[in-house]
């Protein structure tokens, strides 16, 4: 929405410099996107009179004009009379005409905002000197007009500034419509001016004609049957008024000043009849529509039998802009008899369009259901000034004063006379409900110190009706009819705070007791997980929650298990991810291409799979995961599995967990295990708490191929809440430091290839764990397999720490022999 400051000034005094005004409006009404200095565009434009006009010899359309500019322009070639010569090709240039002259070195307003604005000069046209140009409305950036140069329609002295004559020394305020969605009244200049008055601390007086909700219409001079109006469904329209006018001259133009005001706020001038309806809409926020009465009768078989009804399935309507649309039952149409003639609130139909031959019109002033119109707006892509206003919810009380004013203005400007009674579907006008509140309620909510008088003044400035009961300190507030957004005490409190400036309220801190607030345990766990992985050289990433169905498929996951976005921006963002690993894998290739050969990425985030079902609140369950992927570009004989496992062990160590690695079944596919190769992956459980942590491993060959991963790539996907649960269950396991020295022995077991490392360690532990006087620690030293052998050597180091006495060599050997016996029995190992 564009607001003209000069237009505001016709209703309230504004003395502030423009930047201060913009700041004040920003602080107390609405953010201003941009302030446009309109006057700058017209700085060089001068009103001049054509004193002589002759055809240019050898041209079929050019004229040589001598113009009188009152001598205001310096440094220009003049004839003996002081006139300036300009060549002009417009058909309407003629002696005596007052024109807008763009002298040399002035800028053509139409090109003002261009990167290279067109600056005029004195130059020869067909050998004849032409000083600047005589401008058309289009060149003046006012509106498209194909009739030739602009004809100044006010009697002014040549040499006057064009901008002064038409009040174009103006500032335009650009405001985003949605910032005022809740304020239909501010979509009219008068409503906006009311706010501007009040935020400056001034009272505002709405013009009487707009306050009069049961106005007298100009005298009827004719006897046409008033249009019949039926609202077929009362939900579609609260009020519909219509009246017939005769003798309107459809070819007449509005005064240029009206046209410049319309065009500067973005409305194209059309004809006097149409301009009056638009002018009143911009002034009051109430859209009007004019139908050609004779065309309307023709559609309805000679009758004006207007119906406001829902569109019908498959029904079509040709609009003013030439488009034929197909209606739905969500659209509201205006029909005569049974034929749709307009898309209510949005756009008129071509069958009843006003044109230059129009004589008789029917004027509509109505309200329509804003929810239907919002639907219409989106479905048909109509963003007219009218629908913008209707969708804010204009009050029913407004239709009458605006209609009365339109009839009056049309009579004055086009000679139209009212020939019918005014049809009105509304029986009784509902008055706004009064709202009661106290001064202390206002101050308690705002933290302010307003007196009763402050509050009353503030509200009265915007024409609220306020009475104060001195005994109860209660205020009775009745909002004016145009404030359909005011319903409850909080709305009044907002008005008081806003109009006085929220910034005038002293910021204070709430009081609280000394109770400590604990950080969330899961947040602490996550922070610790991040720190650990960062210490381990990994890089945390964030990636989108939505992914392409192909990414799911590449990772071996079924898109059917993902929630699908119906209005996604692109197929790349169509599905919720089920786990994080696919997102990480799709980041590997691009980083390798950027020269990173050796890296680990991790992400901690929520995931969503239909497999998780709904929670107690009947919304989809959310599962947190922590995924890591580690890759190395250089090929290696080592399995990347052990690298990923190393990361997991490092994390586990940071949290005091002891992990057990179990095989992954081949036949069960969970989203989380889907990308992993079951023969080279493990399910991970914390031994002490029994919490299942997640999966670690290498990726399936098909997955690695699909994501173009290097051969050396592996990762894990684990549940950070399980880590929290495990740590909480395990507690902290401290044993006092022993006073006796520890002993170490290394043992090398030769076992069959099929025996795994854990079997050896587990048997060794079992042999030692029954003796509480000794603590033990078992760690790997060496894993060796000779070429072509079906056995391997596993060397472990056993560290024994006694608590009751120093161990003798004999005692240590007994412990070690026990271990050897247990391992040998369990695995068939021989000691090397």
């Amino acid at each position: 929405m564009i607001i003209s400051v000069n237009w505001l000034k016709k209703f309230t005094a504004i003395d502030l410099p423009i930047d201060e005004l913009a700041t004040l409006i920003g602080a107390r009404l609405v953010e201003i996107e941009e302030v446009i200095d309109l006057g700058k565009k017209y700085e060089g434009v001068v009103v001049a009179r054509v004193v002589e006009c002759v055809k240019l010899e050898g041209s079929d359309h050019l004229n040589v004009a001598k113009i009188d500019d009152g001598g205001v322009i310096d440094d220009i070639e003049r004839d003996s009379n002081g006139y300036v010569q300009v060549v002009c090709g417009a058909p309407n240039v003629r002696e005596g005409l007052l024109v807008a002259w763009l002298p040399p070195s002035s800028t053509v307003p139409e090109t003002y905002a261009d990167t290279e604005p067109f600056v005029l000069s004195a130059r020869k046209l067909r050998g004849v000197m032409s000083n600047g140009m005589l401008a058309s409305a289009k060149e003046l950036d006012l509106f498209d007009d194909h009739d030739g140069i602009l004809e100044v329609d006010q009697e002014v002295v040549p040499g006057a500034r064009f901008a002064d004559v038409y009040e174009l020394n103006d500032f335009l305020l650009d405001i985003e419509n949605k910032s005022l969605t809740h304020r239909p009244d501010t979509f009219g200049i008068i409503g906006f001016a009311r706010e501007v008055a009040a935020i400056q601390g001034n009272a505002f007086t709405t013009p009487d004609w707009l306050l009069d909700t049961s106005p007298n219409f100009v005298e009827k001079n004719g006897d046409v049957t008033p249009p019949m109006v039926t609202i077929d469904d009362p939900l579609l329209s609260e009020r519909y008024q219509a009246v017939v006018l005769a003798g309107a001259d459809g070819s007449m133009k509005s005064p240029l000043e009206i046209q410049t005001y319309l065009s500067r706020v973005g409305v194209r001038p059309v004809s006097a009849v149409v301009d009056v309806t638009n002018y009143l809409m911009m002034l009051t926020g109430q859209p009007l529509h004019a139908f050609d009465y004779d065309k309307l009768l023709a559609v309805g078989g000679g009758k004006a039998d207007i119906h406001v009804r829902a569109g019908r399935d498959g029904e079509t309507l040709e609009l003013l802009d030439g488009r034929t649309i197909t209606l739905s039952d969500n659209d509201i149409v205006i029909a005569n008899a049974d034929t749709a003639i307009a898309l209510a609130g949005a756009m008129g139909g071509s069958s009843t369009e006003i044109d230059s031959t129009t004589k008789n019109i029917i004027l509509e002033s109505a309200t329509f259901n804003l929810y239907n119109l919002r639907n219409t707006q989106m479905r048909h892509g109509i963003f007219s000034e009218a629908i913008t206003r209707f969708t804010k919810g204009q009050p029913a009380a407004l239709t009458a004063p605006v209609l009365a004013s339109a009839v009056r203005l049309l009579a004055a400007s086009t000679g139209a006379t009212r020939v019918s009674e005014v049809t009105d579907t509304l029986k009784t006008l509902r008055n706004p409900d009064p709202i009661e509140l106290t001064v202390s309620q206002v101050n308690a909510a705002l933290g302010s110190k307003f007196s009763a008088a402050d509050i009353v003044d503030t509200l009265q400035h915007t024409e609220f009706d306020v009475t104060v009961n001195e005994d109860t300190h209660t205020m009775n507030v009745v909002p004016p009819f145009w404030r359909s957004d005011i319903h409850i005490g909080e709305d009044i409190i907002e008005e008081v705070g806003r109009l006085n400036g929220f910034d005038s309220i002293e910021p204070k801190l709430p009081l609280r007791d000394f109770t400590a607030v604990s950080p969330d345990a899961f947040d602490k766990t996550r922070a610790a997980l991040r720190r650990a992985l960062v210490r381990a050289g990994a890089n945390e990433v964030l990636s989108y929650s939505f992914i392409h169905g192909d990414i799911l498929k590449k990772a071996g996951q079924n898109p059917e298990n993902s929630y699908r976005i119906t209005n996604s921006i692109s197929p790349d963002l169509q599905y919720y991810r089920q786990t994080l690993t696919p997102s990480l894998l799709s980041l590997v290739r691009q980083n390798e291409k950027n020269g990173f050969d050796d890296f680990a990425l991790f992400e901690m985030n929520k995931t969503h799979s239909k497999a998780h079902g709904l929670n107690d609140e009947k919304v989809p369950g959310e599962i947190d995961f922590l995924a890591l992927t580690v890759v190395r570009k250089k090929a290696s004989d080592d399995a990347a599995f052990y690298q990923a496992k190393k990361y997991l062990e490092y994390l586990a160590g940071s949290f005091g967990l002891e992990l057990r690695y179990d095989p992954v079944a081949n036949d069960v596919e969970y989203p989380v295990t889907a990308p992993f190769e079951y023969r080279r992956s493990a399910l991970v459980t914390d031994v002490r708490s029994g919490e299942f942590i997640g999966v670690v491993g290498e990726y399936k060959k098909s997955v690695a191929k699909a994501f173009k991963l290097p051969v050396y790539s592996a990762g894990f996907e684990i549940d950070p809440r399980a880590i929290l649960a495990a740590t909480a269950k395990n507690g902290f396991d401290y044993t006092p430091i022993s006073r006796y020295p520890s002993s170490e022995r290394d043992v090398c077991f030769k076992v069959d290839d099929a025996v795994n490392y854990a079997q050896i360690v587990t048997s060794a532990q079992q042999a030692l764990q029954n003796d509480s006087s000794v603590q033990y620690q078992i760690s790997p030293l060496d894993l060796y397999q000779a070429a072509d052998e079906s056995t391997k050597n596993i060397t472990i180091r056993i560290r024994l720490t006694p608590f009751t006495e120093t161990l003798t060599g004999q005692q240590v050997s007994e412990y070690i022999d026990g271990v050897i016996a247990a391992v040998t029995k369990e695995t068939g190992a021989t000691v090397v």
């Binding site: 709430p510 929630y563 119906t566 980041l587």
Partner: protein
């Protein structure tokens, strides 16, 4: 034509014997099919060519399947319990110096820490929710124009990837009701991912993070809201700050405001430079009612703002798209 069918069976059988199954397309019998084309009647060539192509597609599919099976059978199981590979040594972690935390989670931790110290508890926001929590409980009736401003996505089932962290507000209020009614206050922040159907450029993302705060007590005021927000930003930037507001319309607050701070000196700010940080306001009575809190006894304020903006300002990050790009060139700048 029949010779194609016979050949098809022969070739498909042969694929199962090949160690490099895609070589089937180089088989001389198959290649020979092509050389037949020029000898045919021009009217028949099209149909014949089509048959060859069908066969080729079929052979490729069979070859791929065989290739996959071969690869699968070549996968060697590992001792998943071992600490490292046989005949090798313990793998090393990557150098600590190259590890980085994402700047967004880093700042988010900072924000949460400040609010925790100020007395707010913290919850992560949901990433999929229903219409009631996203709109209904927040005084946005069905079809309300203000819903348009949120450009929400929808799932097939009608769930919404939340467009604001206020999707948690009704839950937070309900959870705090008992504490409030026993003489306490509700002081809580919700943070997390939100989603909007927006075209992406250097300053717009469809996925971003917000942090939302709620405070309810028996005497909350708009002045306290301004004080709380100022206190947060002063702690975050470590300096005294000027603040200003402008009216803003959000159906779940009344009055509603947009909140700005004077750009801190640490960010190269000069007096008169303002940064719009968040939207805020006094919680609308209907929102309290939706959580079964009596708006005649209790009042509250709430606010919500983007997290990326804080991070971008702090580090001078030029493009919002870096955050979710997963690019190490970006991430490794935050050592």
């Amino acid at each position: 034509m029949t010779d194609i069918d016979t050949l098809r069976d022969t070739l498909l059988a042969r694929i199962q014997t090949l160690e490099t199954p895609h070589d089937i397309l180089k088989a001389s019998e198959f290649k020979a099919l092509y050389s037949v084309i020029p000898t045919l009647d021009p009217a028949e060539r099209g149909a014949y060519g089509k048959r060859i192509n069908q066969l080729k597609t079929e052979l490729e599919a069979a070859a791929s399947a065989r290739q996959e099976a071969l690869e699968d059978s070549s996968v060697m199981p590992l001792d998943i319990t071992a600490p490292w590979q046989l005949n090798s040594t313990a793998p090393l972690l990557l150098p600590t110096e190259q590890g980085t935390q994402h700047p967004l989670t880093r700042e988010l931790e900072e924000v949460i820490d400040i609010f925790t110290r100020m007395g707010f508890d913290a919850h992560e926001s949901r990433q999929i929710d229903d219409d009631w929590n996203m709109f209904g409980a927040l005084n946005f009736p069905e079809g309300h124009p203000a819903r348009d401003g949120y450009d929400t996505f929808r799932t097939e089932e009608g769930y919404i990837p939340p467009a604001h962290t206020s999707t948690m507000q009704n839950r937070v209020l309900k959870a705090g009701k008992a504490k409030l009614e026993s003489g306490g206050q509700i002081a809580s922040i919700s943070y997390g991912r939100v989603f909007r159907n927006e075209d992406v450029d250097a300053t717009h993302e469809h996925t971003f993070y917000q942090c939302e705060g709620v405070f309810v007590s028996d005497d909350a005021t708009l002045g306290q809201m301004l004080g709380t927000l100022r206190a947060f930003f002063e702690e975050y930037y470590g300096q005294k700050l000027k603040i200003k507001t402008q009216p803003g319309y959000f159906p779940f607050v009344e009055p509603g405001l947009e909140f700005a701070i004077e750009k801190p000196a640490a960010l190269g700010g000069k007096p008169g430079d303002w940064l719009e940080m968040l939207g805020c306001g006094m919680i609308h009575p209907n929102v309290l009612r939706a959580a079964d809190i009596d708006p005649d006894k209790y009042r509250g304020f709430a606010w919500g703002g983007g997290v990326e903006r804080l991070v971008m300002l702090k580090y001078g990050i030029e493009d919002l798209r870096h955050f979710e790009s997963g690019k190490l060139t970006f991430l490794r700048k935050f050592l």
